[in-house]
């Protein structure tokens, strides 16, 4: 196990360096000088330009800049926003809980609905329910979620007035950001705040959860179908166990292993979806922040944010890999 662990960890080092390199060259591939580009049509005083270039280290040779960048990252310094003068890490860490809260509730939504649907479809294979669910699943996977989100707002917020249009909580409440998770922090405030936070979370959760829901229902179904054909299921049935116990205890537990792996590895897809969902619902998270940084040409934010997200995905994939290796000794080699 230790050997497997070390092997996997060394394998990600080149990926890690590559990711930092990619985020490094980002700033240098932009046509023209990033500072001049940011100054835009107003132009910039040549003396000030040189000063700024020196401040950002842009007057150094490229290899030196890259080494400096690596050293800087190793010290946990991701740069400073050109707009707010705040460090990129500070901005990221204040906004990230909002993204995590949204992502986790979307996954939970997808799991709680997707797994039972997938199981029922597998048990009633070939029934109208099965066909209907598979049709819905392809539709969900094909859904342009930026449109789906706007349609939900149009129906549930504008026409029916059930849910708010945007944000994390009503302006009437001020919640001290203790954990950064609105549903946790509002707990110490009045019940109205909790209700408000919850109602703000519903639509974004459904929208972001749509693609994973489709994927999970489909995966659960096909994985269940495979498991239900195994000998030990027949044995369990032959023993005279109740059908529901065979399905839930014997089959589902084994069928879920590939499903869990797929969820772990689809973190990247979820973050892509989060960028769109946060933009639509003005959800103050990392995706919204990155899109804004492009509009404001705040390149250090784009660079630092991309890097953190890249590293995060590497770490999540690694832990999925290790967990899977732990659960399934055969792939440890």
């Amino acid at each position: 196990m230790l050997r497997f662990l070390l092997g996997r960890v060394t394998l990600i080092i080149p990926t890690f360096v590559g990711v930092t390199f990619l985020s490094f060259i980002l700033l240098h591939l932009i046509p023209g000088d990033p500072i001049e580009v940011r100054a835009g049509e107003r132009g910039i005083d040549p003396v000030r330009l040189e000063e700024l270039r020196h401040d950002y280290g842009l007057d150094q040779p490229l290899w030196k800049q890259f080494l400096d960048y690596e050293v800087q990252i190793a010290h946990g310094n991701l740069g400073v926003s050109m707009v707010t003068r705040e460090t990129v890490w500070n901005e990221f860490s204040t906004l990230f809980p909002a993204t995590i809260e949204l992502t986790i509730s979307a996954i939970l939504f997808a799991l709680i609905i997707g797994i039972p649907l997938g199981v029922i479809a597998a048990v009633r294979r070939g029934s109208p329910f099965d066909y209907g669910l598979m049709g819905m699943s392809v539709t969900g996977a094909s859904m342009p979620i930026f449109w789906w989100g706007l349609m939900m707002i149009l129906v549930f917020s504008v026409a029916l007035g059930w849910t708010p249009v945007s944000g994390r909580i009503s302006d009437a409440y001020f919640i001290e950001p203790w954990s950064g998770f609105m549903l946790v922090d509002c707990w110490y405030s009045d019940p109205g705040a909790c209700r408000s936070a919850f109602s703000h979370l519903i639509l974004p959760t459904i929208v972001l959860g749509t693609n994973p829901l489709a994927l999970i229902a489909r995966m659960t179904r096909s994985s269940m179908l495979e498991v239900l054909n195994e000998d030990y299921i027949r044995t369990a049935r032959a023993k005279g166990l109740v059908a529901s116990r065979v399905v839930i205890v014997h089959a589902l537990r084994n069928a879920l292993i590939p499903v869990v792996t797929v969820i772990g590895l689809s973190v990247g897809g979820l973050l892509s979806g989060a960028i769109l969902t946060e933009t639509i619902f003005s959800w103050p998270g990392v995706g919204h922040w990155l899109i804004e940084s492009i509009q404001r040409r705040d390149y250090p934010v784009l660079q630092g944010g991309t890097l953190v997200i890249g590293v995060l995905v590497i770490l999540v994939n690694l832990s999925v890999d290790l967990t899977y290796g732990y659960l399934n000794p055969r792939i440890r080699r």
Partner: protein, 298 residues
């Protein structure tokens, strides 16, 4: 009877296509997908004939006209008009043309580049293989939309750059797939035999091995079409893809953001068109996979 036989006779292998079709037609969803695709292609080709108006012509006295069946609708504009008086239906039809062009060019460029890289990695082995596959791993680390956004922010917004970004984002899939299938084919005897007969590496790669790796790649292209259309529309929606007044569906949605709460039709139709198109290619791709690769059939 005899006529049909003589007509079919010259074909090298008539049963192969029929076998494929029988297996494909079993899947009703896939046939539906194929049908929608045919309709879309027809719309795209005949856009100049079918569209009632130019997609960018602005009718100054018809701002936000509702669809035909709603009060205030105008038969001139069956699906209504947008905020500057452009005919929705005509824009949607031209949008179909644009989407198919986007999907087609992105998928084929990604296929060609990805397959070349994958085959090179498989044949060269060693450091070349490691280098190519590491680069693909790095591309896969980033959430695809984020990577596309970063690329477009470097190259500058616009349809062409957005398409390039989607090519880069979808490249790893094709590369990994073609490398994996090339590696498994290369272990076969026929490849060794061809090599012994003196075939050069390029011939081995593209003439001997590639045709036997095609089945999974064809499926990937069909599903890649759907991804390309979806991603390009997402970029258009974020203001990074096609720029107005181009009748691209995602860009149309971005333009509708300010007033969609008053005029549902400017929002509903372009998005629904994206959904239907992507759905058609996904259904078709799933059907192709089941028909071409019986091992994966569920």
């Amino acid at each position: 009877m005899s006529l049909a036989q003589t007509a079919a006779a010259p074909k090298a292998d008539p049963s192969r296509f029929r076998l494929f079709w029988r297996s494909f037609a079993e899947n009703r969803g896939a046939v539906l997908g194929l049908f929608i695709m045919c309709v879309l292609v027809t719309l795209a080709i005949l856009a100049d004939v079918l569209a009632l108006h130019s997609p960018i012509e602005q009718f100054r006295d018809h701002f936000l006209t509702p669809p035909l069946w709603q009060a205030g609708g105008d038969s001139e504009f069956p699906l209504g008009t947008d905020d500057v008086g452009r005919d929705m239906l005509s824009r949607l039809i031209y949008g179909a043309r644009l989407s198919l062009i986007i999907g087609g060019s992105v998928a084929s460029l990604a296929l060609i580049t990805g397959t070349t890289l994958g085959l090179t990695a498989a044949f060269a082995g060693g450091i070349v293989d490691i280098f190519i596959m590491r680069v693909m791993d790095i591309l896969l680390v980033f959430p695809s939309l984020l990577l596309a956004i970063v690329i477009v922010s470097i190259l500058g917004p616009g349809l062409f750059n957005a398409m390039l970004a989607v090519v880069v984002v979808t490249l790893p899939g094709y590369t990994r797939l073609s490398r994996a299938s090339a590696l498994s084919e290369m272990a076969r005897d026929y490849v060794t035999a061809t090599r012994c007969a003196g075939a050069g590496p390029l011939r081995l790669m593209f003439v001997t091995v590639l045709p036997n790796c095609l089945a999974p790649l064809i499926v990937q292209v069909s599903l890649g079409f759907a991804t390309a259309i979806l991603d390009a529309a997402a970029l258009g929606f974020l203001g990074l893809g096609a720029q107005p007044p181009t009748p691209e569906w995602g860009t149309m949605l971005a333009g509708a953001l300010q007033y969609y709460q008053r005029a549902w039709w400017v929002l509903a139709f372009p998005g629904f068109s994206i959904l239907i198109t992507v759905l058609a290619f996904n259904l078709f791709g799933d059907g192709l996979r089941d028909a071409l690769d019986p091992k994966l059939k569920r």
